[in-house]
Symmetry: D2
Subunit: 346 residues, 4 copies
């Protein structure tokens, strides 16, 4: 069923995912933003906080209110981890469709989630209901989902990058490596020292090598595709740019495979995955502000190691854009509706 106008609510929205969601929804032809809640900023105009929205978004932040949200067709959670799981139940029961851009419903193994996120899950029964919102894998399930767990940014870039390779069956699943680099907006709009300009600019560092929350999410996704255990070494790095993820993926090939061909075939029908010509090196700016994932595949020195380069904008395909893509699927709209922005280059 296609609806002319989708009534949209947003919980949270003062972070980078929030402002990006607002930017996209304000340009979406079939959405009407009805309510955006923020306990802390209630009463403030959204465009007062984010001046790029002046003249385009007249909404004000309001106190969280079940009533206002219940009147919506879909509610996005653009909140820190741990918020959606407390508020989803009531909205779910009221028939509102939910898209959680945070991590609360991504990991099916609740105990595993609790270990990595360091809190008790408040709503484990909805975890099973939730559909993992990576359209390139789960499109059909998303269509009818009442609760979508929008993937993390690293997991989106890494899974899309590894997917055709794993499906080919020609890869050593026990020794996969994802060396991923993220722009600083990935850390969110939180006042913290390590993401200050004077700390993160003109600097490069790895972090979380011991273990990052996106590791179990990626492993879960790859394992499901492989239908066999996958062992991944995942090393994220902080890069002095605002937006963008560049995942450099390494996998040992176990048999003959035409990399370029399997990638092109796998993504031939995908509007938002662009397999670049042989020999390419996608740059993150080629997707800045756009909902695309661009991928290039290499096999250096014709050895047995495949190298996959996968780039996304962490706030778009890695968060708000993919959320809108999921909404489009859920409401029967053409999947690219409102997502036609061309990346800003330079």
């Amino acid at each position: 069923m296609t609806q002319k106008t989708i009534k949209v609510g947003i919980v949270g929205g003062t972070g980078y995912t929030g402002v990006e969601l607002l930017r996209l929804l304000a340009q979406h032809p079939d959405c009407e933003m009805r309510v955006i809640t923020s306990r802390k900023e209630a009463g403030m105009g959204v465009a007062e906080m984010f001046s790029n929205l002046r003249g385009r978004v007249s909404l004000k932040f309001s106190e969280p209110s079940a009533a206002a949200l219940t009147a919506c067709d879909v509610v996005f959670f653009a909140t820190p981890n741990g918020v959606a799981m407390n508020e989803a139940r009531a909205l779910y029961d009221a028939g509102v469709r939910l898209i959680d851009i945070a991590a609360d419903f991504r990991i099916k193994d609740v105990a595993l989630w609790e270990k990595w996120y360091g809190m008790k899950h408040a709503c484990p029964e909805l975890v099973a209901e939730a559909v993992y919102g990576l359209p390139e894998i789960n499109r059909e399930k998303i269509r009818d989902a009442r609760l979508v767990a929008n993937p993390g940014c690293y997991p989106t870039a890494v899974q899309l990058g590894f997917l055709p390779l794993i499906e080919s069956g020609m890869v050593d699943l026990g020794h996969m490596i994802a060396d991923a680099k993220s722009g600083v907006s990935g850390a969110g709009r939180k006042a913290e020292v390590h993401t200050l300009f004077a700390e993160a600019s003109d600097n490069f560092k790895a972090y979380g090598v011991t273990g990052h929350r996106h590791l179990p999410e990626i492993t879960q996704g790859l394992t499901q595709v492989a239908a066999a255990p996958v062992r991944l070494v995942f090393v994220p790095h902080l890069t002095p740019m605002i937006r963008g993820i560049h995942a450099t993926l390494y996998a040992r090939l176990t048999g003959p495979v035409d990399l370029q061909s399997i990638y092109e075939k796998r993504y031939a029908q995908e509007a938002f995955v662009d397999v670049m010509p042989t020999g390419s090196h996608p740059d993150t700016r080629s997707v800045r502000g756009a909902n695309h994932c661009r991928i290039a595949v290499h096999r250096p020195q014709d050895g047995d190691t495949a190298v996959v380069l996968s780039v996304i904008d962490n706030l778009v395909k890695g968060a708000a854009g993919q959320a809108v893509q999921n909404m489009n699927i859920m409401f029967g709209l053409p999947e690219a509706t409102g997502l036609g922005q061309i990346a800003l280059l330079p």
Copy 2:
């Protein structure tokens, strides 16, 4: 007369103004890009050079050809200074409407132009025909113009910033100061040492204090509005950001004036000039990728000096966006057609 589809040609287009023009035109509902010429890159797909356009622009650069351009309704020159003046005559005579994003037709005093640009003008007779394409001043003339001289980036920010003040008549015209800061894309996509990342990053400097080509252009514009000689000190600076101009303008007030009020009134009907609330400090990212100029006015310590803060994206309102705005006016389209992009923040 409104045309359904405007046939567009672009001369040049391998620079930043060019790729930005392509980004905007590819999202414009009433344009059909027919030809883009580049002697050097003829045969190469536009999207091969600018990967953000993959899947959106299928055009290839072609050899300059009068025939192909003559078949267009409008031709944009996104060329270095000195090119348009050599090619405009023939197209003009063929009835093609022209928008020169370079500087060839901006200065009415040809001798003055020749002094600042260091070359003989090849087509002085068209200089008089050309309409200076600052819509907020010349909208009516632009409507019927056959040749539009699209303003420079600094001149756009500075003129829009000073305009209401000069119109108020309450300002010392002999001592105006424009301290302007530009992102590095303003220097163009030319291989030069001083704009290398390792030179321009984490660094700040003034340049051209002795004299910058945009000085006579700004002075001409302000003088015309004032109907009296204006003397301006103009100091441009190179700032380590990609896009954006921030003009900080100083003018001595000669009588009582309600700054906020005159600015708000002057621009009340302008779609692309946003006068911010009292006390604001516009940031350049609030217009990144958008066609807006945002302005705030101050009077520090209630002294006799007005301080105006004016920001634009040098590639949009300062170049390609304003060119599209001019095209819309010339072809009777709503002025904001195809220019609805919301600035990318963060």
Copy 3:
């Protein structure tokens, strides 16, 4: 009297001024760092927090202790504003010489200080004792000072830039303008949203146009030199670079003056002020990590407005470096001792 080894204490030291002071003192041949206090980080090795100091500074942060500090010859306050005024008295009475890198003792008019800094001054009687530590003006007084108020970063760049002009007597004191641009480290190592990388990078904005705390400090300094009231419009801007201040200064000339000559003469004997050749545009990176102020003077279009470009590293000549320079003067060392670092370029 020259001392072989100066026993140094630092109060604070977890901020950018602190780590810069440590970097300089660790390379100073006549200093022995004895104690560095931080209530919050007591017990942590300094080099654990600042990994550039690994192998060079073995000191640990310790609980504030009067005894340990009293045993020092000199104590630097690298603390937020309002701390030194509470702790200075006891150390002063114990005969320790003090250098406050914060603002507590800079403004002679205590009521004015209280207005701008929004707190009651805890130690007004020492304000009169304090010597304003700009060596180029106050060298002789600094020699015997028991308490030095180290100048602010903007005030250093602006005062050094205006000084020869004011001393020339050929300038309109009622209409001076300082358009100043600072790197983000000037905001300190505090967890705040507006100085996050994703906020401050690829962006430019003015701030504090209505009034900035450095305005009264600069005005006090200039007024003292002029021996007449000075009226200054001061507009600071946040620039996407880590270190550096670029002050662009405008002053109306009231009579004939050879700008280049008066600047060269005024600073001929100064080790840390470099007057560049006619026509120069100093860049901030030319002083990155060094204790120099580089200045160039211009008179655009031979008009009546002088334009002075003055650059410093806000953490060196604008803070820690000038503090060490003051210490050298106070202890009879050659003024440049330990300050021989050459700026890091690129």
Copy 4:
């Protein structure tokens, strides 16, 4: 034999390696810079080109002259690849000791060099004479070397990172991976489009995945240490920072090994290699402007893959600093002479 003052000549010196070498030599207590040649800039003061050297380096660029260079004790080549091989012979025969910071003498297999560098080697007989200047491996040979081939930047970071692991014998030599990220200064001070600020800022990309010239250099070094063939996948990336290399190294362990311990032991006596505590993530700024390599070792999820993080400043330990270190060794000076700079942080 220790010499009091080493007479130094520099060929080239207008690039980033050159200005960095000048910065270091100007602070070196035992060096006298006698001549710096540049055909293109002959007559220009070095400090005119690099304003950070004002007041510190009075030398002018001069026409290349064998006589002037022959009078030196040591000559550094800070030239593009292919220059030193043409000029080394004469100086070598005259008894001048040579340090080539470019790549001409790094690869022992001349045919291999010619393949990767795309030119005929002009002086193959000196290749055998040349000592590869990685002091942590070749210190003794460097002492008496008449020609030192200073290592590349990536090769320095990667080799120092892999060295203890390879020496342990507990690693799969056939599947080593170096995912390396470099600041843009690594591309040199050449006018090129892809390293312009507006191209490289706020962007991240891999390059040369198919094959990079540093691959054979690294492979040669690792193979020599392993005394067995090593197969390396090497993926370099361009990062939006000025200086710094971050190498993230992956190797499959083939037996039990205490990573932290073998690294600490291997480098215990090395002045310029800092093994950080367990769990660390070195950042590139911790070596900005300093001659250190900082290394941390990890074994994620206690799997069989070792992850080594190795950072250097590409212009210091990766070029000019290591060259000075080699000079110190060659002339019997304490190895750290003149290399005491502490990294600039922030």
